[in-house]
């Protein structure tokens, strides 16, 4: 091993046998911004024990990423540690010079950054990227020994050793994430910090990667700090959890205490907002038959197939990809209901949503809305269909045209559907819709989309759906990018729209736990084919198809007593 300079010699000395590996003492971090100082971390006290898996949970903007960046002294220039200390073993990280910090990072404290899959260098083979870490810290060239060592490391995270000869684009998301873990453990660190290590992965792969991470951590006897917004995932992986809210740790306890006996109000809210797979609240109001219902189903998709063709150039043979394969789904017109279409990324669920909304035409089969093929509607039928079939989309930023103020979202709809006469009536309608999502007109009128928070934007999207009071709403991942509190609100709003206004939903999601809670019918798609369909109880409690079984098994339960 390369001998470090005098100043860093003590960094190499093995830690004393005290129980605590990392100790934060009244830590404060402040950001300088155009509008003043932002106090992102406010007096955090924390002790991480040796060999412990410690979870830090919080919603977006709670300061959790700032906290880990402060520990590693990776804060941007606008931010600074304004008070407090960070002790790693006996070393005060907050006072360490850059040279010593560089030495400590990777060798004793490793980071798996957020979205780390995209942090891999696309033009460098995996093996060389890991070798780089070894070279910087131990001065060893990429030779046979190093190569063997990298192979062993890759094998230890469940990859084939030969992966070292591949480029990142040749790997799947899960494999890339494993490579990142491999890089983090290359120098056998004592502390691993993982910031949302699995948030971009599908649920089945998420479980495998999380398990690998735990295996590796236990084998090394290292401590790990897991940062996440998914309480269920943390419940399954961490020993202790700290709940972070607005820069403060409001509660630190072991997982069971947090789940069964949360003390702080914020923690209670987080725990209560978790969708559970254990039991399900039945609909408070029994389904009321629709006055205008009848024998014709509201939505009837018959053997819908969608094939995408791609032609590289004029004389190329087109390559075809079947996104949907004879998908038949019926949404009854007798009473309002929520039909969930669940699947992982690439299952074809969003393609189905696009076809139902008339944005794409099926290559085969047809979708009937109230008995009329939506691809062959007369002018007046189309007008009625547009009025009655609406959508809630996933990305709350993309739904706004950046050149207009956000109220144009409502004004255009009111004007085109002639919902109101004159400005006063329009305003009254919009204000009513805003009230339903707890927004005041002052908060949103005359504002441009980038002046609002993500949560506010998503609420506006829901308010628009409320304003139009449609018969069918296609909700494409409406809660996948929002915080727990807002998720609860949006799901409640969906329920009240269903029960009070008689709106049916096609709920497109990858999240079976929320689907279980609000659906009347669940359909699971895999690679464009329906593999499972039935009531929530049937699908979740007794799945028939092996794919749905593996999918449901992979959902982390927020209850730490139910093992993953």
């Amino acid at each position: 091993m390369r001998t470090p300079a005098n100043g860093t010699r003590n960094l190499l000395q093995s830690a004393d046998d005290r129980d605590t590996i990392l100790s934060l003492n009244d830590l404060h971090v402040e950001y300088a911004s155009a509008t003043g100082t932002i106090h992102a971390v406010r007096g955090v006290n924390l002790d991480i024990r040796r060999g412990e898996r410690f979870g830090i949970a919080g919603e977006s903007g709670s300061g959790k990423t700032t906290l880990v960046n402060a520990i590693l002294r990776l804060l941007p220039e606008t931010a600074q540690i304004s008070a407090g200390s960070i002790h790693f073993n006996d070393i005060d990280l907050s006072r360490l010079d850059n040279r010593s910090l560089n030495f400590l990072r990777w060798s004793r404290i490793a980071l798996i950054p957020q979205g780390s899959m995209s942090s891999l260098n696309p033009v460098m083979k995996v093996g060389h990227q890991i070798a780089e870490v070894i070279k910087t810290h131990e001065g060893k060239r990429y030779n046979k020994d190093v190569r063997d060592r990298i192979e062993r490391i890759l094998e230890s995270v469940g990859l084939d050793g030969r992966v070292l000869n591949l480029y990142p684009h040749e790997l799947s998301g899960g494999m890339k994430q494993r490579v990142c873990i491999a890089m983090a453990i290359t120098l056998e660190p004592e502390l691993i910090i993982a910031d949302e290590p699995t948030s971009s992965l599908d649920v089945v792969v998420q479980r495998q990667v999380a398990k690998t991470l735990i295996d590796v951590q236990e084998r090394l006897g290292a401590s790990i700090i897991l940062i996440g917004h998914d309480m269920a995932l943390l419940a399954q992986t961490a020993h202790r959890i700290a709940i972070m809210n607005e820069g403060e740790l409001v509660e630190i306890d072991n997982v069971r205490e947090i789940y069964h006996r949360p003390r702080h109000r914020y923690t209670q809210m987080l725990i209560n907002s978790l969708p559970s797979l254990e039991h399900r609240e039945e609909r408070d109001i029994p389904p009321v038959a629709r006055a205008d219902g009848g024998a014709t189903p509201l939505l009837d998709a018959q053997a819908v197939t969608k094939v995408f063709g791609y032609k590289g150039h004029l004389f190329a043979k087109s390559t075809e990809f079947t996104a949907l394969d004879e998908v038949s789904i019926e949404v009854t017109g007798d009473f309002p209901m929520v039909t969930t279409i669940a699947g992982e990324s690439g299952s074809g669920k969003s393609t189905f949503a696009n076809i139902v909304l008339g944005f794409a035409k099926p290559s085969g089969g047809a979708v009937y809305y109230r008995g009329k093929d939506i691809a062959r509607q007369s002018r007046s039928e189309f007008a009625q269909y547009r009025r009655e079939v609406q959508a809630i989309f996933q990305d709350p930023y993309e739904i706004f045209n950046p050149v207009y103020t956000v109220d144009s979202l409502f004004r255009v709809a009111v004007k085109k559907f002639k919902l109101a006469r004159g400005n006063d009536e329009t305003m009254a309608l919009i204000e009513e819709a805003l009230r339903v999502v707890n927004l005041s007109p002052e908060q949103v009128f005359g504002k441009y989309p980038d002046e609002l928070s993500g949560g506010q934007r998503q609420r506006l999207m829901v308010a628009r759906a409320y304003l139009l009071k449609p018969k069918l709403i296609v909700a494409d991942e409406p809660v996948s990018m929002v915080d727990a509190s807002l998720r609860l609100m949006i799901l409640d709003l969906m329920k009240s729209l269903r029960d009070e206004l008689g709106t049916s939903f096609v709920y497109i999601t990858h999240d079976l736990a929320t689907a279980y809670q609000i659906s009347d019918q669940i359909i699971i798609l895999n690679r464009g084919k329906i593999v499972e369909r039935g009531t929530p109880e049937e699908v979740i409690k007794n799945p028939q198809h092996p794919y749905s079984q593996s999918l449901i098994q992979a959902i982390p339960s927020p209850n730490p007593d139910i093992k993953w």
């Binding site: 739904i399 045209n401 109220d407 979202l409 255009v412 002052e442 628009r464």
Partner: protein, 285 residues
Amino acid sequence: MQAYSTTRSPAQKIVSIFKSFDLTFYIGLLLVLLLVVFGALGQFFIDQRDIRLGASSFSSPPSAEHLFGTDALGRDLLTLLILATPTTLNIGVVTAVIATSIGTFLGLVTGYFRGPLETGIRTLIDIMIAIPALLILVSIASFLPSSNTVIAVILAIFAWPFTARPVRAQVLSLRERAFVKLSKLSKRSDFEIIFFDMLPNITPFIAAGFVSTVSNAILAAVGLQLLGIGPIDEPSIGLVLQEAFFASAVFRELWWWWIPPMIMLSMIFIGLFLISLSLDRIARH
């Protein structure tokens, strides 16, 4: 219901637009405005008779009587340049108005719609861009009646694809944004989506393209003049230069004949370039 300002007033909008420009823009604008003022106000101080052949002594250097001197034909160069400036700027603006209108419209339409017509226009754009325009320009301009309007129209025919292609590229990315889907759900027609949703998003982009089209058109027009193609009855900066070079002004050391028009052209090109650079920066943010 007047409690909240729902949209900003036009005056506020204009103020905010001018606030977003940087120093580069204003330097460029100043250079171009100087020439516009020179051409516009100069008209009041000149006498058209000064540009008749032999009106003054031949090839006399700048003096109190002839501030810019006279050319080898005895014409007052200041008067000539004052008359030439609006013509040259006009060619640029007329070309850019035609080319940008056609290019923007076709770019929007081919970016938004799919189908055989779109493929046809797209192919036409690609072909037009690949053709060496100057060569065609020379042959067309040589048998068409010679006037600056004709030159501007011919230049526009070859300039619009350079607007259409980037506009189309912008629209291709805009049409995938979710706000287009929401507009469709609000029953907006394709026409409304193109002109109300997409066009405002690419306005700074089109403005930057317009300015560089003006610049390219003037360059091409001057190029044609230097080759001896183009009207000889309307004075333009290109024509003054062409005559200077034809009379070997450089070798005869008649510097006052060719340096002022060169400086004026430089001012136009640098000014327009700076404006377009600044607009482009805004378009990309």
